[in-house]
Symmetry: C2
Subunit: 334 residues, 2 copies
């Protein structure tokens, strides 16, 4: 910029102005400067701007994993919306590891990011998150509704969602319902889904069989393994609730390989409504999660927090919805 100023025979200040408030500069001077910038292939330095203004224009996003296509739905829209507002995204994944999560959070603080969007956070990481908030960095949690209302979030109720799906299966006259779900000892989302499942069984007078509950990493392969285990029981369940579509698709495959028909012999329900769910064979009955909307609203909320409105944060709980397709059916119709 200094070079440009010299070559254009104006001061640094004028060059700066001609970039961020051109209306304050005389037209001829402006055009002259722009010509010089073009000629010398000058590229504005955003880092220096951020540094000088003491505010960053990048926001951080922490997700469990980029694989698996469900978190990417919210990530995608977050990126688009942030882009519109002139923000870039730093994305990092934790692989469901709490320590990595707090380390990442620390890194984000060190980078003085403008704000952070957290896709939930591991059980036990509350203090790390509190640290961030206290340090003054705006922070929005997505994918779950928190009890704690000190934090902003745009989420949904994992308990209710899982309760509803379990209830749906019960209404389909299933008495023995398997559950395959993510690491509920570490991930609150999974834990809440487990609680929802339990509560539904209890409310309908069904007894809980611990052998029917299988904890797995939410991948296709482990979903398959979980289902294999369930199917090899002496008295296998007539319905299986896979609390993530990745698990459900894996379960579908296991059933197929064992020659068990879905939904004739066993019903399988998922959770997330990933794009693939409607394209499975059979199409998956699942819980639709408002991934895009969450991402969109999270960015809006974060922006307001960054601008200093919303001193108290904001809590938004969105609805989920059961999408009935073909992987579940009434037990009596078998």
């Amino acid at each position: 910029m200094e070079e440009i100023a010299r070559k254009a025979r104006v001061s640094l200040a004028t060059v700066s102005r001609s970039i961020h408030s051109p209306h304050l500069v005389k037209k001829e001077t402006l055009e002259h400067i722009q010509r010089v910038m073009l000629k010398h292939r000058y590229v504005y330095n955003v880092t220096a701007r951020d540094f000088s203004k003491k505010k960053s224009s990048v926001i951080g996003v922490i997700i469990p994993t980029t694989k698996g296509s469900i978190f990417s739905n919210s990530t995608q829209i977050i990126q688009e919306k942030a882009q519109e507002k002139g923000f870039s995204l730093i994305i990092a994944n934790t692989g469901y590891d709490g320590n990595l999560e707090s380390s990442l959070l620390r890194q984000f603080q060190e980078r003085r990011l403008a704000g952070i969007i957290l896709t939930g956070f591991a059980i036990g990481q509350e203090s790390a998150v509190r640290d961030v908030v206290q340090s003054g960095i705006p922070c929005v949690v997505i994918w779950e509704a928190l009890d704690n209302n000190l934090l902003s979030f745009v989420g949904f109720n994992n308990f209710t969602a899982a309760y509803s799906m379990t209830e749906y299966l019960i209404q389909l006259k299933h008495q023995q319902i398997g559950l395959i779900l993510g690491p509920y000892s570490k991930v609150r989302r999974a834990k809440r889904r487990l609680e929802g499942y339990r509560a539904a069984l209890k409310d309908y007078g069904l007894k809980l069989d611990p052998h029917l509950i299988i904890e797995k990493q939410p991948t296709l392969q482990e979903g398959k393994e979980g289902m294999e285990k369930l199917l090899s029981m002496r008295k296998p369940p007539t319905a299986v609730f896979a609390a993530s579509d990745m698990l459900a698709v894996g379960a579908l495959r296991a059933a197929r390989e064992k020659g068990v028909r879905v939904p004739e012999d066993v019903s399988i329900a998922g959770f997330d409504d990933i794009d693939f769910a409607a394209f499975c064979n059979p199409p998956l009955t699942t819980v639709r999660v408002p991934a895009s909307l969450m991402g969109e609203m999270a960015v809006e909320t974060l922006m307001e927090m960054i601008e200093g409105k919303l001193p108290k944060g904001r809590q938004i709980t969105l609805n989920t919805e059961i999408i009935t397709r073909e992987s579940c059916r009434d037990r009596d119709l078998k």
Copy 2:
């Protein structure tokens, strides 16, 4: 940091040293400073360090879309490897839009990123990419092998890969092979795959029917639409090569809905080998692309370029492989 220095009654320089070269500081002084930092919740400012040293510690990644689970496989490992080296990732998607792509590239320059990983680049954006390289930012292209060897890349040969799959279908005695593929007028990967398909037909003396070639956005829905169109022809193809697994899964669904059996009535082949491919019904025969390896090697290459080794860049072409599963079969066995 200044405050820490005051409170600890040492100079700024000593505080700085105690962070990045503790061995140069007397033990007691060091411990004292660390206590003060802890007490005052001092958080190091990486932005300022980067700014001062005139080198960034973030690398930019441009991908067409975060949806669709195939690019995320390389993105995931890129992030992990970069993290190991102390780099963060700024990720942006173009939605296959060339203008957005060059705009993003410009933004990356303005942020003075340490390096850029480009998942291909749109046809017509050569000059934008050249600009970046000339500006001195290390740049590695993935997902395609370029003719141009001024650029570094870690890719594979899209032409050969598509040729092989087409050849495979021909050897299965298919004479009429449909092709559904991405926007080949904009995306070189798609264009090269189209060329591979054409070359194979020609080499085996099959005539090219333009009606059998369908250009679509690489999504599940459009894959389904493409297949529907193919199936509704007077004389539909006996095999369809969907040059992306997203398209292939969509095609599978279209066939199912029309009551056309795969592979008995029609063979369907994909491209990418996304995680879902092995879990489809039927499991998808497809071209495996070395997504993770590409990501890993791209980071390595980029790191060496950042460190100033590799002044001439590096070109790596990896192999693809046909994964035979159950969605294709010999035509005579129908």
